[in-house]
């Protein structure tokens, strides 16, 4: 397959205090088989050779499971390809001559560290507020000592696939973190181990989410649409139900 030439408009910001600006770059001979991050690697190699500062972006697993590689591509978190993280997005979805705009997640609770890298510790604090279960630590329990219904296990597992990437916040017109928080609350709340703290968990996590400065949910559904794991909106209803019954 033939290679393509692209124009990138990338957010560059030296540090948290810098105002930042969009900078335009040309990238030539991009293979359609490259991932989006590999395409940025190629550009960064050239920037380094030219004595420029490479573009900072987060990444780790590059296989769609760590949730680090968040960036907004042409106005859509992780790009327009559904259920795909940026690292799993391939350049074959773009055309020769395209201009691609790349920006960091935009949220007050996700301050920019540098270029495309944002600080997502607000998510960690939401987890710390209640995203855990209390278990007596000791030797591993016997298998099947605690029966879990098949449909509950499946739904809990689906919710547990949330990788904490933050795309839901980035896409939400209200800057709400409801989908992330709801995924965690659903995951734990569906399992027997999660029952003792079910109500207090919902209350504590929702309150922490609000304290972090995320916006309020108006059920637009933009979050689910961009979520690389397809976490459903019904988790948010469940979070609201647990939250309301906690009060």
């Amino acid at each position: 397959m033939s290679t393509m030439n692209l124009t990138l408009r990338v957010w560059r910001q030296k540090g948290p205090e810098d105002k930042g600006r969009m900078v335009t770059y040309k990238v030539v001979d991009v293979s359609p088989d490259m991932s989006f991050l590999e395409m940025l690697d190629v550009l960064n190699d050239r920037l380094i050779v030219e004595g420029d500062e490479p573009i900072a972006f987060d990444h780790d697993c590059r296989e769609g499971i760590c949730g680090m590689c968040g960036m907004v591509i042409n106005g859509v978190p992780h790009g327009e390809q559904r259920a795909t993280t940026t690292c799993q997005l391939h350049m074959r979805h773009f055309n020769d001559g395209d201009t691609i705009t790349i920006e960091p997640w935009r949220a007050a609770a996700f301050p920019v560290v540098k270029d495309l890298v944002v600080d997502r510790t607000s998510f960690d604090r939401i987890i710390q507020a209640g995203g855990f279960i209390s278990v007596p630590a000791g030797s591993a329990p016997d298998a099947h000592s605690l029966p879990v219904q098949k449909d509950a296990a499946d739904a809990a597992f689906d919710a547990a696939t949330c990788i904490g990437c933050g795309a839901c916040v980035a896409a939400c017109p209200n800057g709400s973190a409801s989908l992330f928080t709801a995924a965690k609350i659903t995951h734990l709340g569906l399992l027997p181990q999660g029952q003792p703290e079910r109500d207090s968990r919902a209350k504590a996590m929702v309150e922490q989410m609000d304290a972090e400065g995320f916006g309020g949910c108006t059920n637009t559904g933009e979050c689910t649409a961009v979520c690389p794991k397809g976490i459903p909106l019904s988790t948010i209803a469940r979070m609201n139900r647990d939250y309301l019954s906690a009060k």
């Binding site: 907004v72 106005g75 935009r106 007050a108 916006g215 108006t218 933009e222 909106l233 209803a237 609201n240």
Partner: protein, 211 residues
Amino acid sequence: MAVTGAVMVLFLVGHVLGNLKMFSGPQAFNDYAEWLRTVGEPAVPRRTVLTLVEVVLAAAVILHMWSAISLARRANKARPVKYAAKRKNQASGYATHTMRFGGLIIVLFLVWHLLDLTFAVVNPAGPAGLPYDRMVQGFALERWWVTVFYALSVIMLGLHLRHGLWSAFQTLGVGNARARQGLSAGAAVFSLLLVAGFLAVPFAVMIGVLK
């Protein structure tokens, strides 16, 4: 949002059913309007029930707007730096993204509507006119622009409820994942019926079915 919205939705259901009494003729409609004022008599003085309803509705409108404004302000604070790329909505359609703008159109409409058919100061039949005559003269063919404005606003209201109703179920955590698809379809059907009900009378007057 959900609770105050629900109060208004209940009112709208009553309102549209009342309006449809127009098709039962002037006597039935005027009697109905009179009944609204006398209901509860002689246990309570004239207009007690109606005034109570009006107070509750006014409170619902104000609290609903207050919640909407605080949500919008929170959203603005939650994303101080906007995206450079043009927004591309990935999920829901027009109804969801016109909640704030649509709400604004609905309040403006509400003001006109009260001046027109409640206080009748901008209505040809005037404050002294009977309710049925206010309707017929208000939506007369020469005043087609009033009917058009009503129609646009009511359609906007339908869109507002199409998202709002479903959203309220979501906010209150009603139903499971499967039930929620039904709730969404139900919200659409309900909104459509409501719009049709509200538009029936003005258009029937305009084309001369009611006179």
